[in-house]
Amino acid sequence: MLYAALIYTPDLDFAEAPHAQEWLPQYAAFRDEAGERVVGGKPLAPTATATTVRVLGARGGEVVVSDGPYAETKEVLSGFYLLDCADLDEAVALAAKIPGAWHGAIEVRPVADFSAVQGYFGADQADRAGKQR
């Protein structure tokens, strides 16, 4: 199964020298340990760089753009991995090794499974809608 490991930590710029020095080796060690079970993921720039976009009403409605992240919180989404694990226990055990787990917290969520509705709108469309990478 595919799981997203959403990494919530204090809002840091991980590309800044002191933070990079502290965290990059730890994340590199995690990647080595996780091996092929990491199938995707990226670190994110700090929320100061975030822009939130919303369309009012329906498609084609007024586009409202605002500065900042979707929600102002003490710990913020600072990156994510896509993990390929047999089950939740394995995903949780692996998530516990992501440095963000002791820097903040990791939310583990299964990627949505469209297999049950494929018959309704065609395998191709389901596949594109659910395209993971």
Partner: protein, 415 residues
């Protein structure tokens, strides 16, 4: 009321689930398979007669259903194919390494169900539903919540298990303590369901009580250094010790004051009191709800006569229990009764009034019945009879209903 055939099917179904889920490795599939097998049994047994071994019959049918279900799901992976292969063999279940949780299928599966990725109340509800075979109203009553909330919770829990990919896996030794509180709650809920039937022909279900005591004993043996299983076993033994005297020759309830105390199980009481003392030593006097409830049960169990009961101490223990479980309606009711006994009927009625004001619950027939008894003690027979009549609006076990109708008849003759 549930007929005996349906009850056999339900209880045996819950028992074979424990074994089947181990083979399939998927609670949802095992549950569906057992459900289909029990439906088949209920359809066929009335015509063909109950087989010699209902459990063996249900096991064979449920395994076939599970195989079908897995095949139907088609695109599933290697693990499921292995499970199908296992199921195709007609040999007995493969033995599983005993491991940290011991050799009892039922207890092991309760530990599996009490997964930390599920909310604590959900773990308990799920285990009671799927492993112990309780129905939604029974679970709601045991866990002090409404039926609607419980049904919703069970649905959400099943969805999370399926969607989040929580699989059957026996926890390792170091994972047990984190699951212990929920496991204790499952065993306690099972006992409560057996000890206090909500409806039907009998006041209690001896099988459920016995199974809960058995599990509590296994749990204590599994984790002998933990205070909680020790207190739970103490509570169940001290309650169970009085069970034989609770029911009269015709299945009618016998009130505590009228019980033949020579029929109480003295050995179980001794053991319960010892376990409670040992458990309290471990927590250095900091009492948890099981310890407090066990202490209340012990007060009753060691009183040589009803009149020698230390009701003031029982009221004090209920106060402590309510300080750690402020929302427990049964504890608040127990306290009101103890207050009535210790400090007089008006004080007990005042406690009931306070309870009504803070937590109105029009469906609590026990509260209504206790109010009726207290009113009768004050000689307000007409009001007592009318109040007791209101308590009959809810589902009740038949003997309890008969008992209350008898009280009403006595009071109406006096007014």
């Amino acid at each position: 009321m549930e007929d005996p055939l349906a009850q056999t099917v339900r209880l045996e179904g819950a028992r074979i689930l424990a074994t089947l889920v181990r083979t399939v490795g998927d609670l949802g599939i095992a549950e569906d398979a057992v459900q289909e097998a029990t439906v088949t049994a209920l359809r066929e047994w009335p015509g063909s007669g109950v087989p010699d071994s209902p459990r063996a019959w249900l096991t064979v049918v449920a395994r076939h259903k599970a195989t079908d279900l897995i095949r139907r799901e088609g695109q599933r992976g290697r693990k499921e194919r292995e499970a199908t292969q296992l199921l195709d063999q007609t040999t007995p279940e493969p033995p599983e390494p005993v491991g940290a949780v011991g050799s009892d299928d039922q207890l092991r599966l309760i530990f599996v169900c009490c997964h930390p990725a599920l909310a604590p109340e959900s773990r308990v509800a799920l285990a009671l539903r799927t492993l112990c075979g309780l129905d939604v109203p029974e679970i709601a009553a045991a866990l002090l919540t409404s039926e609607a909330a419980m049904a919703k919770r069970l649905t959400r829990t099943r969805q999370k298990i399926k969607q989040a990919g929580i699989r059957y896996r026996v926890p390792a030794a170091e994972e047990l303590p984190a699951r212990l509180t929920a496991v204790c709650a499952v065993v306690h809920g099972l006992y409560t369901a057996g000890h206090t039937r909500l409806a039907g022909a009998s006041l209690l279900d001896v099988d459920l009580c016995t199974e809960a005591v058995r599990l509590a004993r296994l749990l204590r043996e599994l984790l002998p250094d933990e205070a909680q299983p020790e207190a739970l076993l103490a509570l169940l033994l001290l309650t169970e010790a009085r069970r034989p005297a609770r029911i009269g020759p015709d299945g009618e309830p016998v009130l505590l004051a009228d019980q033949d105390r020579s029929r109480w199980d003295a050995a179980a009481i001794d053991e319960g009191v010892r376990l409670l003392a040992s458990s309290l030593d471990r927590t250095e006097g900091q009492a948890d709800p099981y310890q407090l409830q066990a202490a209340i049960a012990a007060q009753h169990a060691v009183a040589p006569t009803a009149s020698a009961t230390d009701w003031a101490e029982i009221a004090r223990l209920y106060d402590l229990l309510l300080s750690v479980q402020p929302d427990s309606a049964p504890a608040a009711l127990g306290r009101a009764v103890a207050v009535a006994e210790a400090y007089g009927t008006p004080a007990g009625l005042a406690a009931l009034d306070a309870l009504d004001a803070s937590a109105p619950d029009p469906h609590d027939h026990r509260r209504t019945a206790i109010r009726a008894e207290l009113l009768a003690r004050l000689g307000h027979y007409a009001e007592a009879a009318a109040t007791m009549r209101r308590s009959l609006d809810e589902p009740l076990p038949d003997p309890e209903r008969t008992h209350r109708l008898g009280r009403i008849a006595i009071w109406e003759a006096r007014r």
